[in-house]
């Protein structure tokens, strides 16, 4: 090892970095890590493709026979959102891992704004959901999936799971930072399973018992699926889209402070 610290150029002093640049660094680091984990790649890209194929196979014919329209649009929307939903659990596991290894603490001492850490994580979440949705749409094309409303609407359809994912990620981050984070995340997986089966995309709302129907109709996945359907197949766009955005804004408003506080607490624990 050489005796001097610098060789060819001056040793630049440490300097503050603004929010945007910081968020990009965090987001790219996370995405890079995730892309190297075969489990995560399978979970986000491969498994949903098979899920779509299976749902089309098993539920497609029966839904169509009940006059629900070409169900490939509903199923694709459903699977895209399921992907975004369960993807937030991977974010939670990454976070817990980084806390336990001390990386979170070390990062906290860097000359960057505090809010950038969560911003970067949410950005990574959104990008992953976006990539997964594009891949899924490609898989859905041979099954009859089309952008009936044009490219712009199609891009909007890709944005919906991204927006949804950001909304769900905030309470998930808040939960992951409590002491028993790992178990809390597992239990959250159970809740997500219920969300997957009890929404208007899996089966028509009328199939559910009366007392459950309001829950099924209004849980955040249902309007999101309807938004994707509207933007690709046709049908209402404004109402479900606004509801989806409202859910995300609401979740951020309610759980945002908890997530921020939780993140700080996780970083400060050594």
């Amino acid at each position: 090892m050489s005796e001097t610290m610098t060789t060819t150029q001056t040793w630049r002093p440490r300097r503050s970095v603004p929010l945007a640049a910081q968020s990009v660094v965090h987001a790219t680091a996370l995405l890079r890590s995730w892309s190297r984990d075969p489990g995560i790649v399978v979970q986000s890209l491969v498994f949903p493709a098979f899920m779509l194929l299976m749902f089309q196979l098993v539920l497609g014919k029966t839904v169509t026979s009940m006059g629900g329209g070409n169900s490939v649009y509903g199923n694709t929307g459903l699977v895209a959102l399921v992907g975004a939903l369960f993807g937030t659990l991977a974010t939670a596991i990454s976070l817990i891992h980084e806390r336990d290894s001390g990386l979170l603490s070390r990062m906290w001492t860097l000359p960057v704004p505090r809010s950038g850490f969560i911003a970067g994580r949410l950005a990574a979440e959104a990008v992953r959901a976006g990539i997964a949705t594009v891949v899924l749409f490609l898989v859905a094309v041979p099954l009859g999936f089309r952008f009936e409303h044009g490219i712009a609407a199609g891009i909007g359809a890709v944005l919906v799971p991204m927006i949804f994912g950001i909304g769900i990620a905030v309470p998930v981050i808040a939960l992951a930072t409590v002491a028993s984070g790992k178990q809390a995340v597992q239990q959250l997986g159970g809740l997500f399973l219920l969300l997957l089966f009890f929404n208007g995309g899996f089966a028509p709302v009328s199939e559910y018992p009366g007392w459950l129907q309001p829950v099924v109709r209004h849980q955040p996945m249902t309007p999101a699926i309807d938004a994707v359907r509207g933007l690709t197949e046709g049908g209402a766009i404004a109402a479900p889209l606004i509801t989806t955005v409202a859910w995300t804004v609401g979740l951020i408003a309610v759980f945002g402070p908890l997530a921020v506080r939780g993140y700080r607490r996780a970083a400060e624990s050594r």
Partner: protein, 272 residues
């Protein structure tokens, strides 16, 4: 753990140490099994084993029973077998992770230095698999019964039903245990195994009758192992005269494949 594996005959003289004597298969397995079961209970796996089938049953039952019953039929009676089989697959997938953990954490090396038969750690893991399958049956039958599932056959039919579920889970777990032991990244393997699980569970006669599938899919759907087992289990539950040949052949085949895999994995471990 080592305390209970200490020699039972203490010929200790003052200040001298007793030589290690071999410990029998039953005693060693019992100890390791207890350790595995306690660990699983502590980590909440036991709760998951009971509640898993309950949740999945409800998730499929609630949205789908309406259309099934409109066509004339009891959905709880129809659905329960595949739920139990699915839980068996989940048990097998988690057996992969357990085996991988044991192999990686050096548990293998440590245990192999003890005077116990070589097969003991594997038997300990299978003891938990067995326990989990029984817990699965408890959870599944409870929710099934509460929604209309009934055993209509003789005591032998019911016994065969329970045995078939357990054998399925056990045989599959033997295979996945072997894979987890030799595989490098058992967590990723577990993630990948979720895909065949998805296909086998959904593209079977377990959720939806064969007529619900398009024509080109029916040959696969009818003959794949989960359909075979589902049909067999349904027949046993109904008590009707059911042809168990296919299920029996598959069971034997799975057990044979599982045993072969375990032996191969053990050999591979010794070589390392």
């Amino acid at each position: 753990m080592t305390a209970t594996l200490a020699p039972t005959t203490s010929t200790g003289s003052r200040g001298g140490s007793t030589a290690r004597t071999s410990v029998g298969l039953a005693a060693a397995t019992a100890t390791l099994a207890r350790q595995k079961v306690l660990a699983a209970v502590r980590s909440g796996d036991a709760v998951f084993a009971v509640l898993g089938p309950v949740v999945f049953f409800l998730c499929f039952y609630v949205p789908l029973h309406g259309q099934f019953e409109r066509a004339g039929g009891e959905y709880a009676q129809f659905l329960l077998p595949i739920i139990l089989l699915q839980a068996g697959i989940f048990t097998a997938i988690s057996a992969t992770e357990t085996a991988g953990y044991d192999a990686r954490a050096g548990v293998h090396e440590r245990v192999m230095s003890l005077p116990i038969p070589r097969v003991t750690p594997f038997l300990g893991r299978m003891a938990w698999v067995l326990t989990r399958m029984l817990l699965t049956l408890v959870g599944g039958l409870t929710i099934g019964y509460s929604l209309g599932f009934r055993f209509h056959g003789s005591i032998w039919h019911t016994a065969a039903f329970l045995a078939l579920v357990v054998v399925f889970g056990l045989a599959l777990s033997m295979l996945t245990d072997a894979v987890g032991t030799v595989g490098r990244d058992s967590v990723s393997i577990a993630s990948i195994l979720m895909i065949p699980q998805l296909i086998l569970v959904m593209a079977s006669t377990g959720l939806v009758p064969a007529e619900g599938f398009p024509g080109w899919a029916r040959p696969f759907v009818r003959n794949q192992p989960l359909s075979v087992f589902s049909d067999a289990l349904r027949g046993l539950a109904d008590g009707s005269g059911v042809d168990l040949t296919a299920a029996a052949i598959w069971s034997v085949g799975l057990l044979a494949a599982g045993s072969a895999a375990i032996v191969a994995a053990a050999r591979a471990q010794v070589k390392r």
